[in-house]
Amino acid sequence: MSQDEELLFESLRLELRRGSLILAVLASLRREQYGYSLRVALGEVGVEMEESTLYPLLRRLESQGLLDSEWREEERRKKRFYRLSPRGEAMLARLAAEWRGLSASLEKML
């Protein structure tokens, strides 16, 4: 029973967090990062993401014009660095306002 409860909680938690991942990625990329360092940085603040989720997401956000990227050599390896584009910054501001609004109204309910 308690194991079922845990499984259910875990799946609901994942669902709850899924929508916030994009916001977390956009916010972290106000500072330039490459894939691995971004993943580590997100993990440190408690937003863990699998690489098979993060990398396709980065690609998608870039194709939507929200991110810019460039290949550069660092520590003897070629790395792809991502950074928020001007369009991405505007989008992040709007999404952040949305997030705060949602959070505030939820906070009142909870």
Binding site: Y36, S52, Y55, P56, K78, R80
Partner: protein, 367 residues
């Protein structure tokens, strides 16, 4: 290091050429970063097992590569799935009805013992069901990958919803009722499935359900839908000294291509009708055309087909006499089937003429 490279090669094989190198390079960097972190933590180079465990954490090449693919990640997505399920349920229901009718026909015509017939019916129903599910899945797969989903998903009308009561409530009680109605609706010469249409349905929904019914009939007629127990040419039986099996086989042989053509044309026409939004004049024209073709087919049955000697009567008086005989005589005197067939053909002919007259009216009035 070889492990990582073979892993990346497996991922690369699944990726589209245009983005392959880019994605693999980035993935390589990610894995290297993780390996370095692992090495730092262990204070030594990781073993092959540890590297493999790390790669397993990254994910199977098929899964990883799939995440980068642009198209949908499901065979049939959540939006389309209920439609697919409904189509499967309805098709299976229709097939079960057709099989059951065929089973009854076969057992009563003395072609097979009940046990044998039931076994064969189940066998053919199973393979038929697999075919239908396969075809519907293929259609769903293709639709799922269209940019724009078909109109009927978004632009439905409340008055069309009667159609969805058909497969929605499959339970024993309504089942028997539907079966009885389905059995009564299909004629002896063409025991095709009859999709019940309620009078309130919109023209488009009627066109779609008609297209589905005719498509099933067409598949069955051409043997593509292996509901083998009632392939018409396989029914055999001698009744009242008339070899109905032979007659049926000859009728089917002679009518094979005309009926195939008729059904195919009907499916195409119904789809056109649905696409045109159920245009009244187009529908009326079609009803006249198909009515004329069907009437011609019935005239052929009456005058020239191998069945003609059994059912033909020269005058109305003779017709009435035969019908009266059917009701007067006690069962078992013989000749009932011939008379019933005679009545069905005449009734169907009158029905077709009536349909054409009504269609002509709609053609003129435009509504």
């Amino acid at each position: 290091m070889d492990l990582v490279e073979s892993y990346l090669k497996a991922v690369a094989a699944q990726l589209p050429k245009a983005t392959r190198d880019d994605i693999v390079a980035e993935l390589r960097d990610e894995i290297m970063g993780r390996l370095e972190a692992l090495e730092e933590r262990l204070g030594r180079a990781p073993s092959d097992d540890e590297v493999e465990a790390l790669l397993r954490e990254v994910g199977h090449p098929l899964t990883v590569a799939a995440r980068y693919r642009a198209g949908p990640q499901a065979l049939i997505g959540p939006e389309l799935y209920p439609w697919w399920l409904f189509a499967v349920k309805t098709a299976l229901l229709v097939m079960a009805c057709v099989t059951l009718i065929g089973l009854v026909v076969r057992v009563f015509s003395g072609d097979l013992y009940a046990g044998q017939a039931i076994g064969q019916a189940f066998g053919s129903l199973f393979s038929g069901a697999m075919t239908v599910i396969g075809v519907l899945t293929l259609i769903g797969f293709v639709l799922e990958r269209q940019e724009k989903k078909p109109d009927f998903i978004a632009k439905w009308r409340v008055k069309d919803l009667g159609l969805f009561e058909l497969g929605g409530d499959i339970d024993a009680e309504t089942w028997g009722e539907r079966l009885a109605r389905g059995g009564a609706a299909s004629g002896a010469a063409k025991p095709g499935p009859a999709v019940k249409k309620s009078a309130e349905m919109s023209p488009v929904a009627r066109a779609v359900s008609s297209a589905i019914a005719w498509a099933v009939l067409l598949l069955w007629w051409t043997g593509l839908l292996p509901v083998a127990s009632i392939r018409p040419d396989e029914v055999a039986g001698v009744l009242d000294g008339v070899d109905y099996g032979r007659i049926l086989a000859e009728v089917v042989a002679a009518a094979y291509w005309p009926v195939t053509l008729f059904a195919a044309a009907k499916v195409v026409f119904d789809l056109m009708r649905a696409a045109s939004g159920g245009d009244v004049r187009l529908t009326a024209l079609g009803d006249i055309g198909f009515g004329a073709a069907a009437a011609w087919g019935l005239l052929w049955l009456w005058f020239w087909s191998p069945l003609s000697p059994v059912i033909w009567v020269g005058t109305v008086t003779e017709f009435v006499d035969r019908v009266r005989d059917l009701f007067d005589r006690s069962a078992g005197d013989g000749g009932e089937l011939a008379t019933i067939l005679m009545m069905i053909v005449v009734w169907a002919f009158v029905g077709e003429i009536w349909r054409m007259v009504r269609a002509a009216g709609r053609l003129v009035a435009g509504k």
